[in-house]
């Protein structure tokens, strides 16, 4: 497996590099001290596995994953066990290693990465597509997975580290990002009209200049998103 290491700490990169050197099936292509450099590399090179530190200045490991359209397998490496729950939200993450990483634990993680075939990763990706084209979306609230009927969602609003999902019956505050839910919602129904808002275009009541009335909410429409909105409407 061709892999790269992303960690802002030279000591950590050296340790992971050494652990990789002890595994014949691993070939370290490059090491990066920040995620931005790695994104540039990935634009031109394919890798099978990324060792990714979560806690980096400016651009965290999770920010990095969000930028990848087709993420390869990822093993998170961190000094902080508190991110484990968040890590399971990503299908591409095969394991989560808490520093200092021991050889034994590292070997286990590699075995997991090796047994998770590309097909399984592809299946995870297609599961996402099925989920987004289906009618249900499960959201994690207080460690419970709550089912939301997708067509009943009329508005999603970004609120800092959370999103507010408004449905016909109820509103849900979920620890997630607008980008993540946008990927899960069917494009045929939903449109991002502003950097903080996604709307269900079937639920629009009226449009006035740079805003949309949807249920009782007046939602701003940014200038850049307005042409796409107009294109999606059945205008007379």
């Amino acid at each position: 497996m061709n892999c790269i290491i992303i960690d802002d700490e030279a000591t950590a990169r050296a340790i992971i590099g050494q652990l990789c050197a002890n595994v014949k099936s691993l070939n370290v292509l490059e090491e990066f001290s920040n995620a931005i450099q790695a994104i540039k590399f990935l634009n031109q090179n394919e890798v099978d596995l990324i060792f990714l530190d979560i806690h980096m200045p400016d651009f965290t490991g999770f920010d990095f994953i969000e930028t990848l359209k087709k993420p390869p397998k990822i093993i998170l490496t961190t000094s902080d066990a508190n991110f484990a729950i968040q890590a399971f939200e990503y299908d591409c993450i095969v394991d989560y290693l808490v520093k200092p990483i021991t050889s034994e634990r590292f070997q286990k993680a590699i075995q997991k990465a090796e047994t998770m075939s590309p097909k399984v990763v592809a299946a995870s990706a297609s599961d996402k597509e099925v989920a987004s084209s289906g009618n249900d979306l499960y959201v994690n609230i207080d460690r419970r997975l709550i089912k939301i009927d997708i067509p009943s969602i009329y508005l999603v609003e970004a609120k800092g580290d959370y999103i507010l999902v408004k449905t016909e019956d109820k509103n849900y505050t979920v620890h997630s990002t607008l980008k993540k839910i946008e990927d899960k919602l069917p494009e045929s129904l939903f449109l991002k009209v502003h950097r903080s808002f996604i709307i269900n275009i079937k639920k629009i009541i009226d449009i006035e200049d740079n805003s949309v009335l949807i249920k009782k909410d007046v939602v701003p429409v940014s200038r850049s998103n307005r042409p796409e909105l107009m294109k999606r409407l059945n205008l007379l």
Partner: protein, 105 residues
Amino acid sequence: MEQPNFSYINSLCGGDEVFKQKLIDIIKLEFPEEKEVYYANYTSKNFKQAAENVHKLKHKISILGLEKSYEIAVAFENNLLEGNTNLNEQFESILNIITNYLQKL
């Protein structure tokens, strides 16, 4: 107070003395830099940044086998995130112990 040791580094190196020396050299280079950044942020009461620095330093604390000190660093990082400077003296004495240890290598 517990003292640094090479038990983790030795288990990682498996007798590879070249890598062991390389790792020690990296730590000797990186630790003083991280420590300096931490002191600068702490002194200027930039506690969130200081917590980030403690986060990074605690990895080195664990690499050097300082298990109890690691726990102190974890607690101190959390304290700093809340603007609380309790445990600063203990944390800084850990940094001093590591500094002295690395200087003797």
